[in-house]
Symmetry: C2
Subunit: 99 residues, 2 copies
């Protein structure tokens, strides 16, 4: 799967609230803040099940109610459509459109 | 709950394989490597349920099969018996003594 250019990432992120290109365009990242740990880990669990199904996994850091997610496609050395697709799922989950 | 001294942390960690004092003695940290994401996230889920029960939560970073856990007691500004207790649970879980 081919790596998206900076312009392609920008275009994709226009429709993905909260995500920003990081690490010189090699990742897209978003921060979430939940009510408490229960809500944060519940959200992570839904993402984990979907990630496993897609065989495409996030890098993430959680402390209590905060969650920072980094998406990248290691095999392509940057951001691909796999990351955009997972980011879309995560945003839909966050806005209650899935789950 | 009072913060442990560097010497107290060292003594406690003697019985806790893999944990090291970090951040100038304000945290204890350990890295785990699992077979795959399923195993890593399954382990995180067991820790999350226990953390919620104890009302004492880890800071953690996961990427695929790797998990880095940081324990600290924010309200005490360092490492307390709460962290040692959770580290012990995590090690027991890892060695199959719990769960």
């Amino acid at each position: 799967m081919s790596r998206l250019t900076a312009a392609e990432i920008d275009t994709a992120l226009e429709a993905l609230e909260g995500w920003v290109p990081c690490t010189a365009g090699k990742t897209i990242e978003r921060q979430f803040k939940f009510k408490n740990f229960n809500q944060a880990f519940g959200f992570m669990t839904s993402v984990a099940l979907e990630a496993e199904k897609r065989d495409h996994h996030p890098e993430w850091f959680n402390v209590y109610n905060k969650l920072h997610i980094t998406l990248t496609t290691h095999s392509s050395g940057g951001v691909t459509e796999k990351d955009i697709g997972l980011a879309r799922f995560i945003n839909d989950l966050n806005s209650g459109k899935t789950s």
